[in-house]
């Protein structure tokens, strides 16, 4: 994989930030600079709705703004004294794009609006920043665009959050966080910690700098590049390992229930619950069903299969003996398939919105 592609991928960026928040001794295998600076993970993908009052005010202007946003991460520091909203982006966006609508909804998360969004006392007064993370670019356009969108809102009388960006750069087999974008504003302590740029990861010449992914896959991220293939593999492995765990734990004779929704939920650290509500549940269930059928193909004589009763979706496998169980485990182990999320399905059903995750 090309390192430039990796560091530009929002799922890499998101997982890198999660690693930078981990407690790690002696900066190994990464330097957890955010943990070092005292930041903690407050939430992954929190839903932040604009209040009726703000929506009313926006409706009276010509500004295009989402009424609800789900930034990738929210960090906190010193309890609830400081918050940093983080959004990972693959590419620049202009003021007319869908991403700009989301940016406005995030920029408006100030004061009372923010406190209501995350259930703080209405009168609380935390420091709040909005930070965009993307691949480093020497162009100032990126932060410039954000500042421009922010200025537009200010001009028509809205309070906005201070906004800045952090770049991810790859140089000489190292990954750096950069803060070299004059116009934007990131929290003072973060600025001091990162300086102009700081090395957070070192990797070998012939290896990809991908850390273990806590969040391996997202339906809204483009599925076409090489790193997406890695994400798809991880998603597949997590489904197969959860499948094999169910079978491995069973003592024959036993009927094992494979509920697709449960399996998908376990394999996505419960994020599937969210995606299911967004009409991609059916597509993922079908892909999961096909993957499981493929995995069990080599041992069809070793179990009796039945559909789970409605409304459950899945199958039950009746395994009679230890030998049958071993044959099923072998069949799953031998499965070799790279592409299991079908492209036509993804194009048809996954609502890909820019690179929003």
């Amino acid at each position: 994989m090309k390192t430039e592609e990796i560091i530009g991928h929002p799922l890499y960026q998101l997982n890198l930030i999660l690693w930078l928040l981990q407690p790690l001794k002696d900066n190994y295998p990464l330097r957890p600079i955010l943990n070092e600076l005292g930041y903690e993970l407050f939430a992954i993908g929190p839903t932040m709705s604009l209040s009726p009052e703000l929506r009313d005010r926006i409706a009276s202007t010509s500004v295009q703004c989402d009424s609800e946003s789900e930034p990738d991460l929210m960090l906190s520091k010193d309890g609830v004294k400081e918050f940093v909203i983080i959004e990972c982006k693959k590419q620049l966006f202009g003021s007319e794009s869908n991403t700009a609508k989301q940016a406005r909804a995030l920029l408006l998360q100030t004061g009372e609006q923010f406190n209501i969004s995350i259930a703080l006392p209405v009168g609380a007064n935390p420091d709040i920043h909005l930070i965009y993370v993307s691949k480093h670019s020497s162009s100032k356009l990126y932060t410039g665009n954000l500042c421009e969108i922010s200025e537009e809102l200010k001009k028509i009388g809205f309070d906005v959050l201070p906004v800045g960006s952090i770049g991810i750069e790859s140089k000489s087999n190292s990954i750096f966080l950069c803060d070299a974008y004059g116009e934007g504003k990131i929290p003072d302590q973060m600025r001091k910690g990162i300086g102009k740029k700081i090395k957070v990861q070192v990797f070998e010449e012939d290896e990809d700098p991908i850390p273990l992914f806590y969040i391996p896959w997202d339906p809204n991220v483009s599925q076409s590049d090489e790193i997406s293939a890695y994400c798809e593999q991880v998603f597949r492995e997590r489904i197969l390992s959860n499948l094999i765990i169910r079978i491995g734990k069973a003592t024959p004779p036993r009927t094992i229930e494979i509920n697709y929704d449960e399996l998908l939920n376990e394999s996505t650290s419960s994020f599937y619950e969210r995606w299911r509500s967004k009409n991609i549940g059916r597509t993922l269930r079908n892909c999961c069903r096909d993957l499981i059928n493929n995995a069990l193909k080599g041992a069809q004589e070793n179990f009796d299969k039945e559909k789970l009763p409605q409304p459950l979706r899945g199958v039950s496998l009746k395994i009679k003996s230890d030998e049958d169980k071993e044959a099923v485990i072998d069949s799953i182990t031998k499965l070799r398939v790279d592409k299991w999320l079908k492209e036509e399905d993804s194009q048809m059903n996954f609502p890909i919105i820019d690179d929003d995750i």
């Binding site: 001794k25 992954i44 273990l212 890695y230």
Partner: protein, 413 residues
């Protein structure tokens, strides 16, 4: 020895004690005729999971238990049509088997027993855990007493052979007893090394020896001197041989070590368990956040590409591999793979980054802390005896010390 007539705890303990005394007398006269009392320390499930019905587990694997009282049972070997020994639920999560069978019979039987159910595992006492237990031995015993330490490191992934003996752990633990019977001791491997000397002598010499010879960090056996004569030999795989003249003293030592091990395991789990959970800490909001810390095992020196390849192939292309892992490695470089797989013995999830410089493990919540102990034990034995292990910012070596201090586990003998 027939134990079929035993009806209560008193008779059981008397029988084990009498047997112990007789064997100790034989040992002293170097005329050992029967097997010593051996204890096998087992592990069931993480503390917050449902503890399996131990009677059902043993029945399913063809070794039904006969209840003596609430925590003590006889163990029947259906295949051999005779009693194998006793099982005692000494503390929650840790049943112990006591047997008088010869190691050559009991070791394979216990191995089969554990291999045949995901609800039981053996204790995996890593070199680092032994290192801390050794400090306890020094703290609680007079320095003129004799101690015994064995070290074992086999660089099996450096050899060009596909045959890896899965029963090696049996071979090793039975060796010392059979050697004793034969009255001789043979060093069969260059990396196997035993010290028997006064505690003060070992205490003085060991740090220097370890500094000069790295495999000596991989302690695989430790003797706790008994309060009377002899001692209790703890092996890395949870087997303990009673070479003392007291079964009561033996049992007290098992309890002491089990409490420490349980505390260390629970601390490791608390620290390491990764979960993405919805939290409702706020008054109204529901947020998803992440808990837990990665386990980082860093090698002193990078291992060679050949060793790395052999290790990955032996582990993930073999059903019965030493590390008891399942998964399909995702290649991310010559010396780097990711595995989103499972502990093949306990059938629980584990995510691993394995490179020629380190292993990083993420343990999803519920995955047993014993998986960490097994990983560390096997890495010390086969990859790097001096591997540096951290769970977040907590040093693995200190888990044992912390477990004893925090829980105020006292040596009561």
């Amino acid at each position: 020895m027939d134990i079929g007539h035993i009806k209560n705890r008193e008779q059981a303990i008397d029988s084990l004690s009498g047997y112990t005394q007789a064997r100790k007398d034989e040992l002293d006269k170097k005329t050992l005729g029967k097997g010593l009392v051996k204890s096998y320390l087992l592990e069931t499930v993480p503390a917050n999971s449902h503890e399996p019905d131990i009677e059902l587990v043993f029945r399913n694997i063809g070794m039904p238990l006969g209840r003596i009282d609430e925590t003590l049972y006889t163990v029947w070997n259906t295949n051999e049509k005779k009693h194998f020994g006793f099982l005692e639920k000494l503390i929650p999560r840790h049943p112990v088997i006591y047997t008088m069978e010869d190691s050559k019979d009991s070791d394979p039987l216990v191995k089969r027993l554990v291999d045949n159910t995901h609800e039981l595992d053996r204790l995996w006492i890593s070199g680092w855990t032994f290192d801390r237990l050794w400090q306890k031995v020094l703290e609680i015993n007079p320095k003129y007493r004799y101690g015994r330490l064995a070290f074992e490191h086999q660089s099996i992934f450096e050899v060009d052979s596909d045959e890896i003996d899965e029963d090696d752990d049996i071979e090793e633990t039975e060796k010392s007893e059979s050697e004793e019977k034969a009255g001789l001791y043979v060093e069969s491997r260059a990396s196997r090394f035993t010290i028997v000397d006064k505690l003060e002598t070992i205490q003085k010499s060991l740090p220097k020896l370890q500094e000069n010879y790295y495999p000596l960090h991989s302690i695989s056996q430790l003797r706790f001197p008994s309060t009377g004569r002899g001692g209790h030999d703890f092996y890395y795989n949870g087997k303990v041989t009673n070479r003392s003249d007291s079964f009561t003293d033996h049992r007290a030592h098992l309890l002491y070590v089990l409490k420490i091990y349980k505390g260390a395991t629970e601390d490791a789990e608390q620290k390491a368990w990764y979960s993405i959970e919805k939290t409702t800490l706020q008054l109204q909001g529901k947020f998803t956040t992440l808990h837990g810390a990665p386990v980082v095992m860093k090698f002193g020196e990078p291992i060679s590409t050949q060793t790395f390849e052999k290790w990955i192939a032996s582990t993930f292309q073999r059903k019965r591999n030493r590390f008891r892992l399942w998964g399909n490695p995702i290649r991310l470089g010559t010396n780097k793979v990711h595995v989103y797989g499972a502990d093949r013995h306990l059938w629980q999830s584990i995510f691993l980054e394995i490179t020629n410089k380190h292993v990083v493990a993420i343990l999803p919540k519920g995955t047993c802390g014993n998986t960490i102990h097994r990983l560390v034990t096997n890495i010390q034995r086969y990859i790097d005896p001096g591997v540096d292990v951290w769970i977040g910012e907590q040093n693995y070596k200190d888990l044992v010390s912390r477990a004893t201090d925090k829980r105020e586990i006292k040596y009561e003998n």
